[in-house]
């Protein structure tokens, strides 16, 4: 008989999971929190950061729960003193080579390193040693890369390979000099990167940040509004980040179509919303020049002129272009107006273009 489910205990909670599930997945199901950096449910299991270590009866060392498969009768302690000590050490080692500039970091408030340091009471690194001093990479209009803040979790490497399918960045060098770079250690701008920003969406710390959003608002100041992208017909979902009645950025949500993936237009193409060229008042052309008008004047003139053409030349002397940019509701209303009020079926839009 094939065993399809196995039962184990985690922190004395009994949980049954499908065969093949990891201890981390079992813990999640049991409602037991285990901190992670490198783990991402959408990406291949990596087991690099060691933050998710647990104690398992009968196993000598502390295995990483994200890559340890749960077995029948396994007894797991996810918060034992040894586990806590190990996690603190992981954090201390990371902080020993991490700029502690949370005061000005755009990721502050949405950073796992910050969250776990708070959780485990780790203030600074207990280890003194060499620190990285990489220059900040901001030679593109989309993403700022601060490799001093990189914890080498490799999520960006896997997102680029497994979500975007481009494999632009990879681990290079060994030991302390290990770094994530495009081929030949050039900047993203000098590589074949398409700036989808899917690496930014999975970075758990401040190493990869949206260039404008990081300076536009603290993470806790923004209100996120889930909506649908205004560009191509794929229909990706994302969160508009709003502060003081202004859209200050776009971040991934878990969209039905796209998951967290977006393209450069969806993620970084929101600037038009508040562009100074936006039309903010009705305009009426007088002697070849546009003059500002009130809504009443403009609407009145439109109604009068359309009515005049209809009366003088008939309904079919009028035509309407609706918009593939606008909502269903607006397209419905405009064709209703065209047919019921103007009296013609001459309505179309750029479906063929």
């Amino acid at each position: 008989m094939t065993v399809t489910e196995i039962t184990l205990t985690i922190n004395d909670i009994t949980v049954t999971v499908p065969q093949g599930a990891t201890v981390l997945e079992a813990a999640h199901q049991a409602g037991v929190f285990i901190p992670t950096f490198c783990h991402d449910p959408e990406l291949t299991k990596f087991g690099a950061c060691r933050m998710c270590v647990v104690e398992i009866a009968g196993i000598r060392n502390l295995p990483a729960s994200c890559v340890t498969v749960a077995t029948e009768g396994m007894v797991v302690h996810a918060d034992s003193p040894a586990v806590q000590e190990a996690r603190k050490t992981v954090l201390e080692l990371m902080l020993a080579n991490h700029p502690l500039d949370c005061l000005t970091c755009g990721k502050s408030g949405d950073c796992r390193l910050q969250d776990y340091a708070y959780l485990y009471g780790v203030k600074t690194g207990s280890f003194e040693g060499e620190r990285h001093c990489y220059p900040l990479e901001d030679d593109n209009p989309f993403i700022v890369r601060d490799m001093n803040k990189c914890i080498l979790c490799g999520r960006c490497v896997r997102a680029c390979a497994e979500i975007q399918g481009n494999s632009i960045v990879e681990f290079t060098n060994r030991g302390f000099n290990a770094k994530i770079t495009p081929a030949m250690d050039v900047s993203l701008a000098a590589s074949d990167c398409v700036f989808c920003g899917n690496c930014v969406a999975v970075c758990p710390v401040g190493a990869l940040q949206e260039k404008r959003l990081r300076r536009a608002a603290r993470t806790w100041e923004v209100r996120k509004v889930k909506t649908t992208c205004p560009y191509c017909g794929t229909g990706c979902s994302f969160d508009l980040n709003v502060k003081d009645n202004k859209v200050v950025g776009v971040t991934s949500c878990d969209g039905d179509v796209n998951g967290r993936a977006l393209c450069v237009k969806g993620r970084f193409g929101y600037g038009f919303i508040h562009h100074p060229d936006r039309l903010t008042t009705p305009l009426i052309k007088k002697n070849g020049i546009f003059v500002k008008a009130t809504w009443d004047e403009a609407i009145g003139l439109v109604a009068q002129k359309l009515g005049q053409v209809k009366a003088q030349y008939g309904s079919d002397a009028l035509a309407v272009l609706s918009s593939a940019r606008c909502t269903n509701e607006e397209n419905y209303l405009l064709q209703k107006f065209t047919r019921a009020v103007l009296g013609t079926n001459s309505i179309d839009h750029c479906a063929r273009l």
């Binding site: 700036f195 017909g233 193409g269 919303i273 009705p282 546009f290 359309l306 405009l334 064709q335």
Partner: protein, 527 residues
């Protein structure tokens, strides 16, 4: 799309024809790339060696406009080698014999002469498509923007039916639509011949239903004009007034000079938009509209998925949501339209539209829904044509190859094709004003093959003058292996390179789509 986007990842054979997916539909391309990583065969049919073509297992670099010869030859091989799906053809289709008779003459050798693709490659691809468990076809404007665009699509449908590669998960015929709500605009009846849900204006019962719901005595029975016909009639004074909402035909339509001339001749033009576009500049009245971030509503994507658009901020300045502006104009013309919310409009529409009848804002809060969704308990439809086609039996419509309307000649020796770039969108109205995209990709260029550039004395980066029978533009040349000899390519995203001044307005007689993918041009080094 007959299938859903997610299903592409589950296909084991993808035939991508006339779609530059990685640039025009980046997120959909991720699914195709994922399928390929999982072992699927990716075949790309495109005159250009696009990024997707580079990734493909097989790139069929056909001559522009020769798609029907290729598609008919694929069917020819499948029939000749008896690889077709007998059960599907017998049980679910009709007119197979007529189709068989037509494709009989499209031997791979004949197709090789027309398309430039070797007969043996055509045979291999035909076998792969027919033998696949789940083959899917992706296409976009690369096959539709031709004078035979409708026939190209019919040829695709014929192939899918021949092999029974439709009506099942991950297998079907999938047009990838280019604009956020182009599917929804069609669904909503923003077309000259149909009300919402493709209910014909020529049908008395449909007109009676809408007239009753809208409280009017009658509705016009004669189909109206398509956008290209509108421009023609405006040019000849038959059209006197136009109302344009959120469209920029001056840059997006073929033969721009003609479009400008036509719009200028109108007695009255009102344009409603978020920017003073090239089209709005010609208007008598401009009405400032709210952007997608400033209003509630829904968009329907290319896989028929209805999704919410949510108001995040107030409209900028005195701008108003388009729906409120339409209501105000209508009221001023003596037909009050009163809706408290966008949801109320949706409800009225859903009552009149069988395919949307089961969808409401309340349901959309629980998750998106793909139409057809005929009632409130229906879960929506992930793929179409499962047990039968809409019309019952799937009809084979045999089609013949015809060459494009305007082919290169001595005066205009190169072929111009146009399309989209990854970093920009449509007429650039939005993407040229983001503070990011236009910073990174700020100028447009003309892709030209090394051999053509050399014979014209054009070096990489030189300014080139490109002329057709209808107009000319200046644009920087980029020597590129993406285009073969004889073909040049650029986008229509940049107002300063208004390439549609050159394009050919010759239309498909059925769908009225212009042949934007082929026109004859002359390229010279600009002085």
């Amino acid at each position: 799309m007959t299938n859903s986007i997610a299903e592409i990842a589950g296909a084991d054979f993808i035939l991508a024809i006339g779609t530059n997916t990685t640039e025009a539909h980046p997120i959909i391309s991720l699914k195709a790339k994922k399928a390929q990583r999982n072992g699927a065969t990716l075949v790309v049919v495109d005159p250009r060696r696009t990024e997707l073509a580079e990734l493909a297992n097989v790139h069929l670099q056909l001559k522009s406009g020769s798609d029907i010869a290729l598609l008919n030859a694929l069917a020819h091989v499948i029939i000749a080698e008896e690889l077709w799906n007998n059960d599907f053809v017998a049980g679910r289709t009709e007119d197979f014999e007529a189709f068989k008779a037509i494709v009989a003459k499209y031997t791979p050798e004949l197709a090789e002469q027309i398309t430039g693709i070797s007969a043996e490659t055509i045979r291999e691809v035909a076998r792969g498509y027919a033998r696949a468990q789940k083959a899917t076809i992706l296409y976009t404007m690369g096959i539709t923007q031709h004078i035979c665009g409708t026939h190209n699509v019919l040829a695709v449908a014929n192939l899918a039916m021949l092999c029974g590669q439709i009506g099942k998960e991950s297998s079907g015929v999938n047009p990838l639509r280019g604009q956020n709500n182009v599917q929804g605009s069609c669904d909503m009846g923003a077309l000259p011949s149909v009300f919402t849900g493709y209910q014909a204006v020529t049908a008395y019962d449909q007109r009676a239903k809408f007239a009753k719901a809208w409280h009017v005595a009658e509705l016009p029975a004669r189909p109206g004009l398509t956008v290209g016909e509108m421009m023609d009639k405006a040019g000849t004074d038959e059209l006197k007034g136009m109302y344009i909402m959120g469209e920029n035909p001056v840059l997006s339509d073929p033969d721009s000079n003609h479009v400008v001339h036509a719009l200028e001749k109108l007695d009255f033009l009102v344009v409603q938009d978020i920017f003073l576009t090239e089209t709005a500049a010609l208007a008598d009245v401009v009405l400032p509209a709210a952007s997608f971030a400033e209003k509630d509503g829904t968009f329907s994507n290319t896989e028929r998925r209805v999704q919410r658009v949510r108001k995040a901020i107030d409209p900028v300045g005195n701008a108003r949501p388009d729906w409120q502006i339409i209501c105000a104009v209508s009221a001023a013309m003596g037909y009050p339209m009163q809706y408290a919310t966008a949801s109320d409009i949706f409800d009225e529409m859903a009552l009149l539209t069988p395919t949307y009848a089961g969808i409401s804002y309340a349901r959309l809060e629980q998750g998106d829904i793909q139409w057809p969704c005929p009632n409130a308990n229906h879960p929506g439809t992930t793929y179409l044509h499962k047990d039968k086609f809409l019309r019952g039996l799937g009809k084979f419509n045999p089609v013949e190859y015809i060459p494009p309307a305007e082919m290169p000649d001595a005066g205009y020796p190169l072929l111009l094709s146009t399309g989209r770039r990854y970093f920009h969108y449509h007429t650039g109205t939005m993407t040229q004003r983001t503070g990011a995209l236009e910073v990174h990709y700020g100028t447009e260029y003309l892709e030209i093959n090394q051999a053509d550039a050399a014979s014209l004395g054009i070096a990489d980066g030189d300014m080139a003058q490109v002329s057709s029978r209808r107009g000319q533009v200046k644009i920087a040349a980029r020597i590129s292996k993406v285009v073969p000899q004889g073909l040049v390519f650029t986008s229509f995203h940049f107002p300063e390179v208004a390439i549609n001044k050159l394009t050919n307005p010759a239309k498909d007689s059925l769908s009225k789509i212009p042949e934007l993918k082929v026109c004859a041009v002359r390229v010279e080094k600009a002085s």
